[in-house]
């Protein structure tokens, strides 16, 4: 069973990780819109390409990546906490899930 404190920390990781990512990305996108620097094809590669309005584009890309990484950060925290507390079953479960996600991501990126 998760303790109330663990639930709270995990919830805060989900909440603030995603809020920071989305907030930074949204503010940067609005800045790009206002300053007329929004690329016609705004893919993630375009966000990190050098050129005009690099800082805003970079923050848009980094914000979305932070949002995508947030569940993995939460899972990593759960796993590390389980290792520290000697809860081996949960630690193994978190490690297996982490490995499965990375494998799936690797397969997906190869297939892309």
């Amino acid at each position: 069973m998760m303790s109330g404190r663990e639930n709270d920390v995990l919830g805060r990781i989900f909440q603030w990780g995603s809020a920071a990512g989305i907030g930074v990305a949204f503010a940067s996108l609005l800045s790009l819109l206002i300053r007329g620097g929004l690329p016609a094809d705004f893919s993630l590669a375009a966000a990190f390409a050098p050129g005009a309005h690099f800082a805003e584009r970079f923050l848009c890309g980094a914000g979305i990546l932070l949002l995508a990484a947030t569940p993995l950060i939460g899972l990593g925290w759960l796993g590390l906490r389980a290792v520290r507390d000697g809860r081996h079953r949960r630690a193994r479960l978190a490690a297996a899930l982490f490995a499965l996600c990375l494998t799936a991501a690797l397969i997906a990126s190869r297939g892309a």
């Binding site: 663990e6 809020a19 993630l44 996600c101």
Partner: protein
């Protein structure tokens, strides 16, 4: 792309996040048709944005559900997620080996069966008060094969798992409906990551669409998670049955006409 378009995307995100968090479905089920049919966004770009909306729903709703309620069964979710994700991975690798339209019709039948069973549970008004929390260990172990199977079907069809996972959590694992929806939302975020990486690799993720959508979805999901705690389970189940029937009809139509197979 202009300010008004960003506002439309943001507003659509609010609705998808709200419904996704209430039903435990991730949000893409609303976001993709909204972008594709109403805003004329190409399907592959809409699907990539749908995955971002699933992530934002999962993070926004789980943040609230974990901090301000005890609805999420984290330990059970980790175990179930392992089997569902493994099934989804296997299904993704098998995609193309099985006749798509047949699978879509089979999926539609399973969704209809799920809607009937959720409907039957409506007759027992007190059912959500007597169900076990956390789920019984024996029941959890026997259910893992079903979650693996649900993952395979979702991977084969390329659909989100919430439509199958929520009924399984509620009916088979006997979690109260609100806990099933909250636990499903917690699981959805991890499920979306591998597919999102594939879309990013293909250059299909349009940040100008994804960012305002994610912002709207996140706020909608926070509101949805709040309402999940306030609304009665019976009302949530009736809404969920409606969504199951609609999705089953859409899937059956695609299967019968051969579109999307």
């Amino acid at each position: 792309m202009n300010g008004a378009f960003v506002l439309y995307v943001f507003a659509g995100g609010l609705g998808s996040g709200l419904l996704g968090a209430l039903m435990g479905l991730g949000g893409a089920i609303v976001a993709i048709p909204y972008l594709n049919l109403l805003l004329a966004v190409p399907m592959h770009a809409a699907a990539a944005c749908g995955l971002v909306s699933t992530l934002a729903t999962s993070c926004g709703a789980s943040g609230r559900n974990l901090c301000q309620s005890d609805l999420v069964e984290v330990d059970a979710a980790l175990l179930i997620q392992l089997f569902t994700a493994a099934g989804s991975l296997a299904g993704g690798l098998l995609a193309g080996a099985i006749h798509g339209p047949t699978l879509q019709i089979l999926f539609a039948v399973m969704l209809l069966y799920g809607s009937v069973e959720v409907g039957r549970s409506l007759r027992r008004r007190d059912i959500d008060d007597v169900l076990a929390r956390p789920p019984e260990a024996a029941r959890l172990q026997t259910s893992l094969a079903f979650f693996f199977g649900a993952g395979v079907v979702c991977g084969l069809l390329g659909v989100g798992g919430g439509l199958m996972v929520v009924p399984l959590l509620h009916l088979f694992l006997r979690l109260p409906f609100k806990a099933a929806a909250a636990t499903s939302n917690f699981m959805m975020g991890l499920t979306a990551i591998p597919a999102l990486i594939a879309y990013i690799g293909r250059g299909d993720l349009d940040l100008a669409l994804a960012i305002p959508l994610a912002a709207g979805v996140w706020l909608g999901a926070r509101l949805g998670a709040f309402l999940l705690q306030q609304l009665r389970s019976r009302l949530l189940k009736i809404m969920f049955i409606g969504l199951l029937v609609l999705s089953a009809a859409q899937m059956a139509l695609q299967g019968l006409t051969g579109v999307g197979g």
